[in-house]
Amino acid sequence: MQAFFDMLGLGSSAELLSLSPPGWGGNLLRGLANSLKIALGAFGLGLVIGLFGACGKLYGGKVTRDLLAVYTTVIRAVPELVLILILYYVGTDVINKISEAMGGDRVEINGVAAGIWVLGIVQGAYATEILRGAIQAVPVGQIEAARSFGMPSAMTMRRITIPAMMSFATPGLANLWLIATKDTALLAVVGFSELTLETRQAAGSTRAYFTFFLAAGALYLVVTLLSGLVFARIENWARRGQPSLKGAR
């Protein structure tokens, strides 16, 4: 293996990227794991916010609807980097105020939890719009049929609306997941040790900038391509029973 890399002139790169301590590969993988943890958590939190937001926008009162419109507009107009800073400072301030009021000391915030909270709020705004569109695309007759059978509204949501809207929502949600994985890189600016920051530290201390940034890029690309495959399967599953779109045009 080593001889093969040496033959290609990549011997030093392979050494730098090896998983055992003189190499930095382990650090990169740890960063990747942190990135994926934050992305998964933020995506999940975003979905929950999005589901409530979409229901609020569709079935809520006037005030709820206007407040949600303000939320989605503001989040989508302000750069993620600025939102991350604002939410980060607000979050730490609030938690510290609470802990001081209860007689505790200042708390050190867990990086992963803070990242999930910050990115989840951002994702929630996009998820709200995606899910709202998907719910609206469900034929009204199906929901009316459920009501006429006397289903309570929570059960209608769980059994009829959500399964029926899945096929409309998956393409948008797939996109949103990719945004989530890429947005975790922004947390490097606040100093969380996710993939991009680990890469920069490794590159800075070895001066092998191209090796490490290209390796990290390859890792992100693998995540993107694999997610593409997974979401294609999910979409197939969500479309089960629907007539095939092939040959429709």
């Binding site: 400072y89 890029g217 992100y220 993107t224």
Partner: protein
């Protein structure tokens, strides 16, 4: 007038009053005494943000047209690299791309004496060429994918009609294909431009002083956290609003001419 009345329902008036009260409270109780000291720097940063945005969008779009065309009708040896470029750009974070170009190329160039002695060296030593390059490539990657769909979406009959009139291929592209593709893509283009605006603060991480970098400097100089960030968010919202307005005006003009 009717629209006006339909918008100002009672609950909206109450919300507007509450919002105004919050704004007044912010203006009265928060600290704004740093504002006069940093105003010239902030204006400079704002100008740099707008300048980078406009330049990268124009260059990126010029690059996106051949990328989209290559993917839509090009032979495989053009289509494949174009597709690979778009996939790589869209699959990796922009921050990583910026750092790769700035730190990677920035550490590579000084090793070659002929680059150091060339006319371009004074520019290559600064940060903004790398920022412009990275943002241009990123916009081209996203837009190339959009343009592929737009080129493929133009009706066949239109192109056949042009051919039947004996138009040369380039005239056909310039007069029929490109204008129709651009018109169909205008709404998406507006959204992508706002996304690009939201990507500009990343250049602050490689020492380009844009409006975001100015707010960071205020924060580190004076330890005032929320006021510069809030003002920054408002500035970006205003810019996004202006972009939306501009594009809706473009779209309206396109439609009026069509009818």
């Amino acid at each position: 007038m009717q629209q006006f009345r339909a918008f100002w329902e009672p609950h909206r008036i109450v919300m507007a009053v509450i919002f105004a009260a919050i704004v007044v409270w912010c203006a009265m109780t928060l600290r704004w005494d740093w504002l006069p000291d940093y105003a010239p720097l902030a204006l400079e940063g704002l100008w740099r943000t707008i300048w980078i945005l406009v330049v990268t969008i124009v260059l990126g779009f010029l690059l996106a047209v051949p990328l989209g065309l290559a993917q839509a009708i090009g032979p495989w040896y053009l289509a494949l690299p174009a597709k690979a470029f778009c996939t790589v750009i869209r699959g990796t974070p922009l921050l990583l791309q910026i750092w790769l170009l700035y730190y990677g190329l920035g550490s590579l160039f000084p090793q070659y004496p002929w680059i150091r002695s060339s006319e371009l060296w004074p520019y290559l030593r600064q940060a903004w060429p790398y920022a412009v390059l990275a943002l241009t490539l990123s916009y081209a990657g996203y837009e190339g994918e959009v343009m592929r769909g737009a080129f493929a979406g133009v009706k066949r009959g239109q192109l056949e009609a042009a051919k039947a009139f004996g138009m040369p291929r380039f005239t056909m592209f310039r007069r029929i294909w490109l204008p129709q593709a651009i018109r169909s893509v205008l709404p998406t283009l507006g959204g992508e431009t706002i996304l690009q605006l939201k990507a500009t603060p990343l250049v602050a991480t490689i020492t380009v002083i844009d409006i975001y970098a100015v707010s960071s400097r205020v924060r580190s100089d004076t330890f005032i956290v929320y006021e510069p960030l809030l003002l920054l968010a408002v500035v970006y919202m205003i810019l996004a609003g202006v972009i939306t307005l501009l594009f809706s005006r473009f779209e309206n003009r396109g439609q009026r001419r069509a009818s």
